[in-house]
């Protein structure tokens, strides 16, 4: 994983690094924790099962952690889905879920590299 890769990925590296006190290894360590976050699974399952309450909690948690690391590709769709779920909106979440999956898988790939 490199800074450039994350930049190319779309993360706001400058902001994320700054929040991590410009400590690169610390920044990388935290970023690596994102793909494995159990809240992704929780979110997908809850949406599938239309348990909006649980889904909201998972989305909200993900919003917090990805927001703190300024991982925009995941943060953006997660934020959007959080607000929808907060309002218990009846809609088709598929597109957003797909986007989230895609972004998190991409990140996972970068982290393994």
């Amino acid at each position: 994983m490199t800074i450039d890769e994350l930049k190319a990925y779309g993360a706001d590296v400058a902001e994320g690094l700054q929040r991590c006190m410009n400590n690169e290894s610390f920044y990388f360590r935290l970023v690596k924790m994102i793909p494995g976050d159990p809240n992704f699974r929780k979110l997908y399952d809850a949406v599938a099962g239309e348990d909006f309450g649980a889904a909201f909690e998972a989305a909200h948690a993900l919003k917090g952690s990805t927001g703190n690391l300024s991982l925009t590709p995941i943060f953006a769709p997660v934020s959007e889905i959080t607000e929808l779920l907060r309002a218990r909106t009846q809609t088709d979440y598929t597109a957003l879920i797909t986007e989230i999956r895609k972004a998190s898988d991409e990140l996972a790939r970068i982290c393994e590299g």
Partner: protein, 740 residues
């Protein structure tokens, strides 16, 4: 009882922060931000957080709370923390990405929030630091203003806030209320300081409740002095009840904690705050020893007493300068010899005030003892007395020792010994001429220091008399440790002993106790011959009191000295009589009845005030015949019965004597013919009782002759005339009385 959080901490300590956050990434970031400057404790659930708060709240400086927790909502945690008095003061910073939640959190009591995503580290640090500092400053201020133990205002801030209260209540009447715990120092001594502190805290809590409801402020000023300044009301009883609530909850009546309350109602706002509470305190003190009254109201007589006290204090220095204080002398007689001999005198101070006249010593002496002026007064008296001793020595050739008072305050004067020596030397006397009276209660406080000073004085030849013996709380141990030369029995003690007969035994014990320590005893306040006698026979050595003389100015006192001339005192005795002389007692009392016999009568009659007595002579009717018929044993029982009836019918100040086998005499003192009816009714009582008889004794009658000292056309003395009356009566009839 709730405990108050103590948050004083030296500023170099690392503060401890509780971080309540379950998301690992957020945890890591916060740790990274904070752990260099702070000790961190982490909780991942609400339950865990509450557990940590309960156990560590005293050491926590801040809580960082994420609103999204797996179990409780952050709001709930916040609410719980703020609701508990123990941790309500802990600042909480909420971390949330929801701007809506921010407002609600602040309302619930969060002090600040940190948004998500987090701001930069330095922003977070700044917010945390500012919060901790603000909270600590607030706490410091809080505790600066307040008494640590109870949380009520301390004196300084109470006064400030009271002044503020006045500004906001300018036209409203207000009350100053003082509350004290009766015998609080004893509660601390008996049950320990921890218990005492608990009591104070409970009282404070109850008081806080009152002022929160009714308005006003509350403070504590040393030990058990509680102050309330509040809007005027009239139900002071209700206040006291609330304050006492739960104090005696465990119902053990032995440990009852009692409060007393003093109220200065509708205060005069021209007075400063301290003086208002001085008045409330005066009111509280007025019920200090009352069993029935627990609330004292400041009233006009207290006001007048206060004014008088102020005037006396103000006039004191002029009084000293102008010699308004006069020393009077009361003689003290050695009563062990057959005739009492003048032994010494006690110097007593009198104040002849130019406008107030003679001021009651009880008033000014206790006043000056309280404010220390007594020292100056005492030294004045010492000087006067010493000069007077010198004068008498020169004029009469008699060196009469005079005893002077040494107050507790004087004993703490480092120059006391020098001052006394100086006075003695200046007047050409020796230290044996000035007797020092020190009160018993002075010995029970700071005993060591006082013992040292007194020992020094004795080494220099001064003799020490312990005054008011029997009124303090000294343990018997102290008697062995104390350097004293004589014991002066407390005046009240002596008086009480003679009004309740059974108490004379205690007096006897005390005299014997003194004897066993080789100490002579002096009795004060002796008023009658009977008292003097009884004391003499118990072994008391010196007697002082109205029986001999009231305190007199020096010129009037001289007659005693003149009489003493030519009566050389026995060579200085090292030991005083050590055994009670039973022989003397027996020689004055009739063995069968315990009444005085002829010899006793002679002495009593001789010593009586012949202007105010009545004498009754009573014979048992048909005594000889009864004796012949019923025998000696029977008539002895009869005589004893008559003695009993007489004793119980007459007063304790009357003397009853058995003169002959069947003749009794009663000397009634302080009586004139104005009290005729009273005397008649006593005679009637006696006769009624005797007319009844008992199961063993038949009814009998007395023939009584009566004479008053202020009778018309006296023939002989009172006794003789009473006798004539009796004889006259016998010629006519029996069973009655005749008056001369």
């Amino acid at each position: 009882m709730q405990e108050h959080q103590v948050t004083f901490r030296p500023s170099l300590d690392r503060r401890r922060i509780l971080v309540i956050e379950d998301e690992p990434i957020n945890q890591e970031l916060l740790k990274m931000f904070l752990e260099e400057s702070y000790d961190l404790v982490l909780a991942e659930t609400g339950m865990e957080a509450l557990r940590i708060i309960h156990s560590q709240y005293e050491r926590l400086s801040l809580i960082l709370l994420d609103l999204n927790l797996p179990d409780f909502s952050g709001f709930d945690i916040l609410r719980q923390v703020k609701a508990d008095a123990r941790f309500a003061r802990l600042p909480v910073i909420v971390m949330t990405s929801d701007s809506d939640a921010e407002v609600e959190c602040l309302t619930l009591g969060a002090i600040d929030f940190i948004p998500k995503p987090y701001p930069q580290q330095k922003v977070v640090l700044a917010r945390v630091l500012r919060t901790i500092e603000l909270t600590e400053d607030r706490d410091t201020l809080h505790w600066t203003e307040r008494d640590q133990l109870t949380g009520l205002y301390n004196k300084e801030f109470f006064n400030r806030y009271a002044a503020q209260f006045d500004i906001h209540h300018r036209d409203y009447p207000t009350d100053a209320i003082v509350l004290n715990v009766n015998h609080f120092h004893m509660i601390n001594d008996r049950y320990g300081k921890t218990y005492g502190d608990k009591v104070l805290r409970l009282i404070a809590e109850n008081i806080l409740e009152i002022v929160e409801k009714a308005g006003g402020i509350a403070g504590r000023n040393e030990a058990d002095n509680f102050w309330i300044y509040s809007p005027h009301r009239s139900d002071y009883g209700a206040i006291l009840e609330t304050v006492q609530r739960d104090l005696n909850g465990d119902g053990q009546s032995e440990n009852r904690i009692r409060l007393r309350m003093g109220v200065y109602s509708d205060v005069d706002k021209e007075l400063d705050i301290e003086r208002r509470f001085d008045r409330a305190k005066l009111a509280a003190d007025s019920v200090k020893d009352s069993v029935t009254r627990v609330i004292g109201l400041y009233n006009s007589s207290m006001y007048e007493a206060e004014l008088l006290a102020e005037q006396l204090i103000e006039d004191f220095s002029v009084a000293i300068r102008e010699r308004q204080f006069q020393v009077h002398y009361q003689p003290k007689f050695d009563v062990q010899p057959n005739e009492p001999i003048l032994n010494s005198a006690e110097a007593l101070v009198r104040w002849s005030h130019p406008t107030l006249g003679m001021v009651n010593p009880g008033v000014f002496i206790s006043l000056f003892e309280k404010n220390g002026l007594i020292s100056t007064l005492d030294q004045y008296v010492w000087s006067e007395a010493a000069a007077q001793i010198r004068q008498w020595k020169v004029r009469f050739g008699v060196t009469l020792p005079v005893s002077v008072n040494v107050s507790r305050v004087d004993l703490y004067d480092p120059e006391l010994v020098e001052k006394l020596q100086d006075i003695v030397a200046r007047n050409g006397l020796t230290s044996r001429d000035l007797l020092l009276e020190i009160t018993e209660s002075a010995y029970t406080e700071d005993a060591e220091q006082i013992i040292e000073t007194v020992s020094r004085l004795r080494e220099l030849g001064f003799r020490i008399e312990m005054d008011d013996f029997g009124s303090g709380y000294s343990s018997l141990n102290m008697l062995t440790a104390l350097p004293i030369d004589a014991l002066k029995l407390d005046m009240q003690f002596v008086r009480n002993a003679f009004t309740e007969r059974k108490d004379t035994r205690l007096l006897e014990v005390m005299i014997q106790l003194a004897e066993s320590f080789g100490l002579p005893t002096i009795a004060e306040g002796v008023e009658t011959a009977e008292q003097m006698f009884t004391l003499k026979m118990m072994g008391c050595d010196i007697v002082q009191g109205y029986y001999f003389s009231r305190p007199l100015p020096a010129e009037a006192f001289e007659s005693f000295i003149a009489a003493r001339q030519g009566h050389e005192p026995p060579a200085e005795k090292k030991t005083y009589p050590t055994r009670r002389d039973r022989y003397i007692y027996d020689s004055l009392h009739d063995p069968l009845t315990g009444l005085y016999n002829n010899s006793g009568f002679e002495i009593l009659f001789h010593d009586a005030d012949h202007d105010h007595i009545a004498v009754l002579i009573a014979d048992i009717d048909d005594y000889t015949a009864v004796k012949k018929n019923r025998g000696l044993v029977y008539v002895n029982d009869l005589v004893c019965r008559v003695a009993e009836v007489l004793r119980s019918s007459f007063r304790s100040v009357d003397h009853i004597c058995r003169m002959k086998e069947d003749e009794f005499v009663v000397i009634m003192s302080r009586v004139t013919s104005a009290q005729k009816e009273m005397v008649y009714s006593k005679i009637e009582t006696v006769n009624c009782a005797l007319r009844e008889g008992t199961d063993k004794l038949s009814p009998i009658t007395l023939s009584i002759g009566l004479a008053f000292s202020d009778r018309e056309q006296p023939d002989g003395d009172v006794f003789q005339d009473a006798d004539s009356a009796l004889r006259r009566m016998r010629g006519i009839r029996q069973a009655g009385f005749a008056e001369y």
